[in-house]
């Protein structure tokens, strides 16, 4: 079972604001997921390489040839705020 502080830490990293009761739910759900990992851990995995991809594919590469980009109006269409033909965001400095 992971502790409440870990839940809060992960929530903060994910920019989530959790109510105390939500923290409890998350604690249980995350712990449940991690138990699956423990199940894998309990097996003898010597000599088994970590599986990062399930597809038997390598080297899917693209030629360095330009394709049309979006018209700017299209690119900016979903922006909350458009300033100077750019995406306006809260102050960052």
């Amino acid at each position: 079972m992971i502790d409440e502080n870990t839940v809060r830490h992960v929530a903060r990293l994910a920019r989530l604001r959790l109510e105390p009761e939500e923290e409890k739910v998350m604690q249980e759900e995350l712990s449940g997921i991690l138990e699956h990992i423990d199940a894998i851990r309990s097996m003898d995995l010597d000599g088994v390489p970590p599986t990062t991809h399930v597809l038997a594919l390598e080297n899917v590469l693209r030629a360095d040839v330009p394709r049309a980009s979006l018209p700017r109006e299209e690119a900016l269409r979903e922006a909350d705020d458009v300033v100077d033909d750019s995406f306006g965001v809260p102050r960052m400095d």
């Binding site: 693209r62 330009p66 980009s69 700017r72 033909d85 750019s86 400095d93």
Partner: protein
């Protein structure tokens, strides 16, 4: 001598000058209107899939091979997670535990000719963030920032060194020569000003003679080598002061302000180092065919280090000549072409000295000028056989720059051929006779006055006298020897 020794490692980000971005077909641009090179992939719209740019992989491999890195038979991409408005996916696709290029070593040469060996920890592929600009109060009352996604997704190679550097000056020597090497590879524009090459330095200090590392700070993103060197020196001094006062250096990111020379702390994102890397499921591994890697290795151009060694060992140049002449691939090609036709040392002197000095006024480089390498070689030959004196040769060179004519033609047109000794003897005799005081000074052992005679002779012959011959004749006439 300080009782502390700096320990420095650097991280260099290089934007690859490919045609398109790392994971989509948007064209790379610099200075285009904002948000004109974007697509659903680099804007991180839902459901899109990245595809790796083969040319970016090729260039990363070239960099790795040039740095003597081990090339990973199979490398994978990771997601580096953090929230920032310049990163639309809220993660940067990067590489983590299996970078495409592993350990290597770079050898730089210091100005005194000594070797500076720097271990390369890794070189990996990743994507650049977008450009974030703070608007300040430009819009009435508005305190906001704006994002231009043109740069977002530009292919980057990040090169990380071991903490092998022991001074700010060594670090900059390394960075300058690394930059040269990258320029010779043709993989990036490497412009510090425009941000296509960016360097961060990890700086710590420790008492001389100890081996444990002190706490390091990270000096961020300087846009010139000069400021980077000053910044590192300022940070080293700041850490020394802290330790001398019995304090402790805290691990943080710092910034150097060139205007004030001050170091400021950027310690704001306390949890930002928890990047929760995990394998990028949208990209399959890159496993470069060994035959491809061998081919790339064979095709690497001759790099500055090898060129410099060849210039010094085989061509008789000084370490400094070699350093200057390997500044750019164009200059090397220019010099090599001249050096194949005439004495390499003399060609080096004329190209790095007088030619560049005269061209600097016009703001051009030798290879852009009307003077061909073959003409430089011909001028060197004219000097060697005594057709022109050194001062006349400078004038000939000026004519060559102006007209693009070969030196013999300029000599002819300007009447700059050296006087033969019997004609010169008459001129010298007249000068000596007209200046008895100076002649007496020479007899009294004031050798400096020889400059006066040489100057007079040059003036009266329009630069056609050989200074060596003038000195010899004056000596014979005045001193009888």
């Amino acid at each position: 001598m300080s009782e502390f020794e700096p320990v420095i490692g650097v991280e260099i980000h290089v934007q690859l000058s490919t045609n398109t971005k790392m994971f989509c077909g948007c064209e790379l641009s610099f200075g285009d209107p904002p948000n004109t090179h974007t697509c659903p992939v680099c804007l991180a719209h839902p459901g899109v899939l990245p595809v790796v740019n083969e040319e970016a992989v090729r260039r990363a491999l070239m960099i790795g091979l040039a740095l003597g890195c081990e090339i990973a038979p199979r490398s994978i991409f990771h997601r580096k997670n953090y929230f920032y408005p310049d990163l639309p996916k809220a993660y940067q696709v990067s590489q983590f535990d299996i970078p495409i290029c592993g350990r290597g070593e770079f050898v730089a040469i210091r100005e005194d000719g000594s070797e500076l060996r720097v271990g390369i920890t890794r070189a990996h592929l990743e994507e650049d963030a977008a450009k974030l600009t703070h608007l300040g109060g430009r819009r009435a009352g508005a305190e906001e920032s704006v994002v231009d996604f043109n740069r977002g997704g530009t292919p980057l190679v990040e090169i990380v060194t071991e903490p092998d550097l022991r001074s700010a000056s060594d670090a900059v020597t390394f960075l300058r020569q690394l930059r040269q090497t990258l320029l010779f590879l043709g993989v990036s524009d490497c412009s510090m000003e425009e941000g296509s090459m960016r360097a961060d330095a990890n700086v710590s200090i420790r008492p001389v003679g100890t081996h444990e590392f002190g706490t390091k700070t990270e000096l961020k993103n300087m846009n010139s080598f000069r400021f980077l060197e000053r910044g590192m020196d300022a940070e080293i001094a700041r850490q020394e002061e802290i330790l001398r006062d019995g304090g402790r250096v805290s691990q943080e990111t710092v910034h150097y302000e060139p205007e004030t020379g001050h170091i400021t702390s950027l310690r704001s994102k306390e949890e930002s180092h928890d990047y929760r890397y995990f394998p990028e499921p949208d990209l399959v591994p890159v496993a470069p065919d060994p035959a491809w890697v061998d081919q790339l290795r064979d095709d690497l151009p001759e790099l500055p280090l090898s060129l410099r060694r060849r210039m010094v060992d085989d061509m008789g140049l000084s370490a400094e000549d070699a350093l200057v002449l390997t500044e750019s691939p164009e200059l090397v090609a220019y010099f090599m072409e001249a050096a194949a036709l005439a004495d390499p040392k003399a060609c080096a002197n004329w190209i790095r000295g007088e030619l560049r000095a005269q061209l600097r006024e016009a703001g051009t480089e030798p290879w852009e000028s009307k003077v061909t390498p073959a003409h430089v070689a011909a001028l060197v030959d004219l000097l060697a056989i005594g057709t022109v004196s050194v001062p006349a040769a400078k004038e000939v060179l000026a004519g060559m720059i102006e007209t693009g004519d070969e030196p013999a033609a300029v000599v002819e047109a300007k009447g700059l051929a050296q006087m033969d000794e019997s004609d010169l003897a008459g001129v010298i005799a007249a000068i000596v006779e007209a200046n008895p005081d100076q002649a007496q000074q020479l007899r009294d052992g004031k050798d400096k006055v020889m400059g006066f005679f040489v100057g007079q002779a040059m003036k009266q012959t329009g630069g056609r006298a050989d200074p060596q011959a003038v000195q010899k004749l004056v000596r014979e006439l005045v001193l009888g020897s």
